[in-house]
Symmetry: C2
Subunit: 150 residues, 2 copies
C-alpha cells in the first residue's frame, strides 16, 4: 500500500495498455456527449477531426481507470481537488490502444492536516502509433503512513 | 443553429437540472474509477469526503451532457482542444440534483483558419442546496457562419 511518502518527485507510473472499444465509445457518447462527430461516421468525416472519435471525457475516464489500476487502488488516495489542465492533442479513435505515464511532478504535506499530503501528477497518453493524444496535470490527496494507520 | 459569432462575451447558458442517479454513479465508478469511496458506503464514511460520492469524472461527464443539451447540439461546435482547469469543490452524492451555468468568458477567431473561432467558457455547477460542486474553464472550437455554410 503506497502512502503519501512513497509519491516522491520524479516517480513514474506506467498506464495501460487500454483498448478503445467501439461500442463502448458510442455508448459513452450517446449518454454524455452526443455530438455528431462522436456518434455518426458521416458527420464525423466533415468535422475538423476527420473521422469518428471518442469523447474527450471518455478518454479522461479511461485514463482514470488506468491510473486506478496502476497506482491508485493500492494507495492511500483520498481523491482529487481538481485538474490543472487537460489537453486533447489528437483524436482517439475506436480501435486505438492507449498507454502512457503518470509522473509525480511535486509533493507536499498539507498545511492544515499533517497526516495528509498533496501530490501533483503529470500524465501523458499515447496511441498505438506513439502519437500523444492527451496531456494533463492534476492534484492527488494521499494520507501519510501515520494518517493511514490512525 | 448557433455559430461562432453568436458566442459573444458575457453570454450565459443555463445547465441542467440533472439528477444524479445512484445506480448510474456506481456503474460509472465500477467501470472508470473503482476507488472504495465511490463504491462502498462503509469505506466512504472513512474517507475525507465523509460518505459515498460519485467520481469527479462522472460529474464532468454529466456536465458535458448538460452543455450538449443546453447549447452544443444546436451549434457549429467542432469539439474542444482542452480544459484550462476543473475544480471539484464539494462531493456530488447519489440523489443530488445538479444545475449551473456556462458563460462565454472570451471569444476570438483562429489566426490560422478564418472560418473557425475559439470561445472560452467558464462553467459552474451547484447542487440542490446551492453549494458549488464544480468550476471549470474550457476552450470550444466553433465554425463561423461562413464556415458552416461552406
Amino acid at each position: 500500500m503506497r502512502a503519501f511518502e512513497d509519491f516522491t518527485e520524479g516517480l513514474e507510473f506506467a498506464l495501460g495498455p487500454h483498448p478503445v472499444d467501439r461500442a463502448e465509445g458510442l455508448a459513452f457518447a450517446a449518454e454524455f456527449d452526443p455530438q455528431p462527430f462522436h456518434l455518426d461516421e458521416n458527420a464525423a468525416e466533415a468535422n475538423l477531426l476527420g473521422g469518428l472519435s471518442v469523447s474527450g471525457w471518455h478518454t479522461c475516464a479511461m485514463m482514470m481507470r488506468m491510473m486506478c489500476d496502476s497506482y491508485l487502488l493500492n494507495s492511500t488516495s483520498q481523491g482529487s481537488p481538481g485538474i490543472d489542465y487537460v489537453r486533447w492533442l489528437a483524436p482517439v479513435r475506436p480501435g486505438d490502444t492507449l498507454s502512457g505515464t503518470a509522473r509525480v511532478a511535486s509533493a507536499r504535506l498539507s498545511a492544515k492536516r499533517p497526516t495528509l499530503g498533496i501530490a501533483t501528477l503529470e500524465t501523458r497518453l499515447v496511441n498505438q502509433t506513439g502519437a500523444t493524444v492527451l496531456e494533463s496535470r492534476y492534484a492527488l490527496l494521499l494520507l501519510t503512513r501515520q494518517g493511514a494507520a490512525a
